[in-house]
Amino acid sequence: MLLLILKRIGLGLITLFIVSLITFVGVEVLPGDACTTYLEREAYGAALDACIKRLGLDIPAYERYLDWASNVVRGDFGYSLSGEMPINEVLGPRVKNSLVLASVSILIGIPLAIVLGIITALWRDKLPDIMISTITIFSMTIPEFISATLLILIVAIWLGWLPGIVIIPSDATFYELLSNIILPVVAISMIMTAHMARMVRSSVIQVMASDYVQMAILKGVPYWKMVFRHVLPNALLPAINVVALTIAWLLGGVVVTEVVFNYPGLGRLVIESISNRDLPVVQALAIILASIYVGINLIADLMTLMLNPRLKSLQIRK
């Protein structure tokens, strides 16, 4: 078991190494370099020299990569070009904001999705299922920039209940954030919940049709007891991986929603730094997003392994 975890962590690190290599090489082979791209028309003379010096572009690429990589390992991403400040300082508040948005969405969306999925499955083809399924399919099919805009139009402009866009500094405190993120959370949850509820629904339906559920019924197990002991633990196992992907997607920045609501999270930082041609920040973001995906998937796999007795003993026997 321990060996397996180590193996998976090792694989994850290799993935990250490859990602770092690709982003680094990608930046290298682009015409020009970070300085010429950033400075654009002012890329000459003293400004360019200073920039090259600051970023160390005058030393060979592989040395720069090693330098950069060893700094990243130590948690130092170097300097941002636009703000001319350490990238860590740029990233810090953004990561925090994204975390807040993601965790609130997760705390609301995932339990809701599971409950809705179970209800639709247990009342399959009956009124609750038809109603909830229609709504979920509806909110799944509308692109998020439309649903987000509609939310702003209805809740913020017509009703005037909540602020339409988030106007807070990127280093706002947690409580300042909370009151501002209701609409973004709703917009994100709509899509996320819909997807997951559909997944949970089909998984529960599949388990409900299994031989062991029929057996439990024929054993005289009362309905709700059967649902909680025999159905759900087995039906929710496959959901873990989907939940993990969703969490990774949320943490990695929900680009469209953040842009629509002007929310200062990681997603918007990606857009900003790309349009500012701030290559060091782009590189840093690539690594961070990749680590989030690798990390969360690793946790999900390990959880599945722990919770599924079949896989667990298979691993131990090996």
């Binding site: 049709a209 299994s210 031989d211 062991y212 559920v213 029929q214 057996m215 439990a216 019924i217 024929l218 054993k219 005289g220 197990v221 009362p222 309905y223 002991r229 025999h230 633990p233 087995n234 919770l307 599924n308 007795p309 079949r310 003993s313």
Partner: protein
Amino acid sequence: MNEIIESVKNLSIGFNSQKGKQISILRNVSTNIKKGETVGIVGESGSGKSTLALAMMGYIKQGLFPLKGECLFKSEDLLKMSSRQLEKIRGRKIAMIPQNAGQALTPNLKIGYQIDEALRLHTDLNKTERDKKISELLNKVRLPSPETMAFRYPHELSGGQQQRVAVAMALAGKPDLLLLDEPTTGLDVTTQAHVLELLRFIAKDTGTSMIYVSHDLGAIAQVSDRIVVMYAGEIVLEGPARKILKEPIHPYTYGLLKSIPKLSLAGLPASMPGSQPQPGSINEGCSFYDRCNLATDNCKKNSPDLEHIKELDTNVRCFNYKELINQNNNLQTSITKKSNNSEANEVLKLKDVSISYAKQKFFDQLLNKISDQNPTVKNINIDIKKGETIALVGESGSGKSTILKSIAGLLKTKDGQIKFENDRILSSDLKMRNPNDLRAIQLIFQNPDESLNPNHTVEQILSQPLKLYFNLSGEELKKNIIDLLKKVRLGEFYMSRYPRQLSGGEKQRVAVARAFAAKPDIILCDEVTSALDVSVQAAVLNLLQQLKEDLGTTYVFVSHDLAVVRAISDRVAVLYQGRLCEIGPSQNVYKFPSHPYTEVLLGAVLEPDPDIKPKLVAEDIVEEKPPEKGCSFQGRCPRKIGDICNSEVPPWQIGENGNAIRCHINIEELASLQQ
């Protein structure tokens, strides 16, 4: 003794078709279950036997609903009860033992919990009493170390053990009636015989009534007092077990019994033409009319009622049953098959073949070799003559299918050679074989549902090998396809059908036709009849034999069913844990002296005859992997003589009948032991 426990009255169950028509899959079924009695319900797939059994617990599968009639349990109608009331009866008064215990046990719950759940629901015992009871129950179903068994998960047990757990769970509520839905189907022969033995013991010990549902007349014969035969949703024959099995007076039952291959008979079983009608397709007349050789015009127009014959204590649904009375001698006949020419040349030789499933280590991968001291299949030497049918038999894990796959080139061999025609070595890698060799060896799979592409028509399925190997096209291609269909007794109009529009037997015929399309020299048959109903199985066996006699094809026939093997094969090789135990002409392998493993297998075969009881000579332990040295069968051998069995691989001994046996016991001694 004559108290009726459950009584089904005029029960019809059906569903609404897409066109809004009501289609019944159970029609007007009435029967009674008496206290302490075991009733066998037998029928082929689609006969409605499982639907009937589940209805007897008040359970109707999704999509189905009762059309009329009632299921009275102690004079209360189960079909009218609320789910609350049913929860009180299920598990406590009527308990179920499911078909596939492996899938019927909840995978995330420990064995102990699942039995405890039944105890908590249906008894008033406290925790310590329940724990004691769990051990008792596990002990009663003869599971090893019941104390630790309770802490295991279902997947950690073997198939036979899972089935025993299901039995223990059913017994927890001390039910009055046990419902068994194909409880031994899918188990190995020896395990099957052991589980049946256990069920018989429990019936006697507890006095519980049982309803035993199965397609297997052999299993039914071992446990039932009374037998109900179902066909197309109706009861066609019902009566005392012995009468039904020995003197069947319904033409369907008669045909069914004749189509079962029997150990005592060489030669092929007689087949019944046609197949069971689909639900909803019978409008008038007898549902068996199409397949019946006693049918008259009357049978076409009027459907017979279930008639009670007092002197035989039997109910029969047939106008002409009298013609079958005193016909029972004919049951013990079979169609003799032409045996092959023993002078023929060898077409395929397996020389010291070993196959390993071990994962290649990094270095071995570089050197392209497999280093496994204890491979799954080891040192197989078989020479196969042209035109012969050689059968590989053994239980699951015996390596029989593994050998087949490596002949086909689907699995690399570790050591040894496969030689084809004139001692030419065939590469063990499929990609290295030349196209003509690939054509010459064809494979037929167990399950035609999975081996035929559901999106291809029969024409497309059959045209692929013809295009690939012979470059046929246009009219010539079509002519060949029609010829092939004719060979497997299917009409031209089947060309445009999709597999889902065919019955199980028809699908397997298409699979046979596809194999023959390549004009192969050797056909590898992997359990080709295991997924089929008995009457269809007989037809496919006859077809294979006919094709072989016409075209001189060689078959390598893999099966776990010794009676089927007896019927079709010229020579038999018995395998245990990937090692050969015995090989010889089939009439001799089925006679003593035999290898102790063959003896165990033969003893466990269930015959559709209440007078032939299986002999259980060895434990049904499942061995994970073959022993590292000595005889492969040392772990279970009832005739083990001592250390020599553990340390030395036994020598081959040739008996006077020409069958070779690998055993440390002298062959004459073996013969006298087995008398």
